[in-house]
Symmetry: C2
Subunit: 310 residues, 2 copies
C-alpha cells in the first residue's frame, strides 16, 4: 500500500519546538486556565493530557474544577485576573444554547479557543485582524486551525499560489457542521479558495467564494445532493462525527484522496489506506499546539495593551 499515514504528533512537533524556544528565549511563563464543569471522564483525561503537554513547552496550565452554575462567575474572575493569560472551557457544560452564551463570556483578550462571537464572526467574514489599526491578528478556533495547519503540512495548501488563494481548485468535504468546528472550518477553507461540501444530518451545503481567484468571504448554498454523489468528487475528506457508529464508506472515496479525521472516534473504515494517498487519523495534538500558539499571541497582545495604557 502506498498510503502515507501522518500522525498529529509529527505535524505539531515544529510548532511545539517554536513555542518552547520562544518561551525560553523571552523568559516568560504564559498561564492558561482550563475550566472543567462536567463529570465527563474523557474531558478530565484530556485536561490532564493538556496540562502535561503544556508543561513540556513551558506553559503553565491550571485546571479549575467548578460547578456548572458557578462557571460564569469564575470566567469573569479569570477575565479580570492579570496573572491569567488564556482561558478555555471543556464543553459541553449545559449542552445547549447556554454554552454559546458562555463562549462569549470569555474576554476577547483571553479567548485561546477563539470561540467568542467576535472571533467566530470574523472567521465567517474573512476578517483577519481584531483591531481597526490591524496590529492584532484574530484568534482562530483551535480545531479548525489545526486542520488548516495539517493541510498546509501535507501540501494540500499550495504555497506556489498567493496567500489567501492556496486552496483554489480544491474540492473538500467536511462531515460535521457544528458551530465550534465544522461550520468555521468549511468557511475558512472556502475563504482560501476551496469548494467545500459541508455535510450534516440536516443536509448538504456548498461553501464557495464563487468563481475566479479573488479575496472575498465565502457564500453558502443549500444543495439537493447525496453524500454518495458528492464524496467521489472530493480531493480531501475531513470527518468529525462524534460517534464510533459513523463510518465513511471507503468505496465512495476517490483514489488518492486525502483523509483527515478530527473526531475522537475513527470515522474512516479500516481499509482507508487502500484508497487514500494520505491519512491523518487524529488532529488532537495539533489542536493543543494551536491552543498554545493562540495563548502566546494573546499574552503578547495583553502586554502590548498594558504598555499602551501606561
Amino acid at each position: 500500500m502506498s498510503c502515507k499515514t501522518i500522525l498529529a504528533s509529527k505535524v505539531s512537533a515544529s510548532f511545539r519546538n517554536q513555542i518552547k524556544e520562544d518561551i525560553k528565549e523571552r523568559n516568560i511563563k504564559p498561564k492558561l486556565v482550563g475550566f472543567l464543569a462536567n463529570e465527563d471522564p474523557a474531558a478530565m483525561k484530556y485536561a490532564e493530557w493538556t496540562s502535561k503537554t503544556c508543561a513540556e513547552t513551558g506553559v503553565e496550565f491550571e485546571l479549575r474544577k467548578v460547578t456548572k452554575l458557578e462557571l460564569e462567575a469564575k470566567i469573569t474572575e479569570a477575565n479580570e485576573d492579570q496573572s491569567v493569560n488564556g482561558i478555555m472551557v471543556y464543553y459541553p457544560v449545559f449542552g445547549g444554547k447556554q454554552d454559546l452564551y458562555l463562549q462569549s463570556c470569555v474576554s476577547e483578550l483571553k479567548d485561546v479557543e477563539g470561540l467568542c462571537h467576535k472571533f467566530v464572526h470574523n472567521v465567517y467574514h474573512n476578517i483577519r485582524f481584531m483591531d481597526d489599526t490591524e496590529t492584532m491578528k484574530c484568534i482562530i478556533p483551535c480545531t479548525p486551525l489545526a486542520c488548516v495547519k495539517i493541510l498546509e503540512y501535507i501540501g494540500v495548501y499550495n504555497p506556489v499560489i498567493p496567500y489567501g488563494n492556496r486552496l483554489y481548485g480544491r474540492t473538500i468535504a467536511v462531515i460535521n457542521r457544528s458551530e465550534i468546528v465544522g461550520r468555521p472550518l468549511a468557511a475558512m477553507l472556502a475563504n482560501d479558495g476551496a469548494k467545500v461540501f459541508s455535510v450534516d444530518v440536516n443536509g448538504i451545503q456548498v461553501f464557495t467564494r464563487g468563481t475566479g481567484i479573488k479575496l472575498a468571504h465565502h457564500q453558502v448554498e443549500d444543495i439537493d445532493a447525496t453524500v454518495e454523489e458528492i464524496i467521489p468528487q472530493c480531493d480531501v475528506v475531513i470527518t468529525g462525527v462524534p460517534t464510533p457508529k459513523y463510518k465513511m464508506p471507503t468505496s465512495l472515496l476517490k483514489d488518492g484522496v486525502v483523509a483527515i479525521n478530527f473526531s475522537s472516534s475513527a470515522n474512516f473504515e479500516d481499509d482507508i489506506k487502500s484508497k487514500a494517498s494520505i491519512f491523518v487519523p487524529s488532529v488532537g495534538k495539533v489542536t493543543v499546539a494551536m491552543l498554545e500558539r493562540n495563548l502566546l499571541r494573546l499574552h503578547d497582545y495583553q502586554n502590548n495593551l498594558t504598555e499602551k495604557k501606561n
Copy 2:
C-alpha cells in the same frame, strides 16, 4: 368568582399612547425592519400584526423575506443602513446554536429585541447601562420586559419599596428557561429581589439575590424539588411552554395566585379563575409595545451618536 382578568391590550395602551405622542410631537418616523426567514405561517401572521400595530403608533415597519442562508448578509446590510433604526428577526431560523450566533450579528445600536450577547449578559449581571459613561440604558429583551411591565401594572412590583428592590419578599415561578425568555426573565425578577423558581424539563433552579435588601445580581442554585412542592409556595406563576399539551394544574396553585401566560398556547387550565386573583392570558401586545419602546430608545442613541461624531 373574584378573579380579575387583565388583557395585554389594557397594559399596553398607556405605553402605546406615549409612543404615539412622542413620535408625533417630535415629528420623527422611526423605522423597524423585521426579517422573516422561515416558512412558519404563525410567524407571517405575527409579522403582519406587528406591521399593523406599528403603523397605528407611527412606526414604519418593513418586513423583509429572505432565505436562511442570505439572512446574515441582510442583517449586516441593515446594520450599516442609516435609514434603518431597528432590526428584529423571526426566530427560529436554523433552530439551533446558529440562531444564537445570528442574534449577536445584529448591531447593538439596532437590536430592538435585546438579544445580542452584550444585552443578555448585562441582564444577567444587573448592568443597567450599555456605555461606561452611563448615558445609554441597556435594551432589555422584549418578552421578559413585557412580563416585568405587566407585574408593575398589576401591583406585584411594590412602588413603596425603593427601585431595584420592588419584588423583595415575592416568590415567583417561571415555567420556561429558554435563553430568549425564561432565563433572562428569572434573572431580572431575582435582580429586583424576588425568589424565583426556574422550571424546565431539565430540572428546577432557584434564582435569588441572597438574603437582605441589597442591589446585587442574582445567584443560581440547582434544587432537588418537584413542581408539586414549589408551585404551592408561589405568589406568581408565569408560564411559557410552547405546546397546548402542557397545563399547569390549578390544584397546585395557592389561593389568590397571580397567573401570567406568555406562551402562544393556553398553559393554565380552564378553571384558573377559581384560584387566581389576577389572570393575564397573554402578553403579546405588551411585547410589541416594548419592541417599539426599545426602537425609540435606539433611534435616540443613533442620533445622539451621530451628533457626537459630527
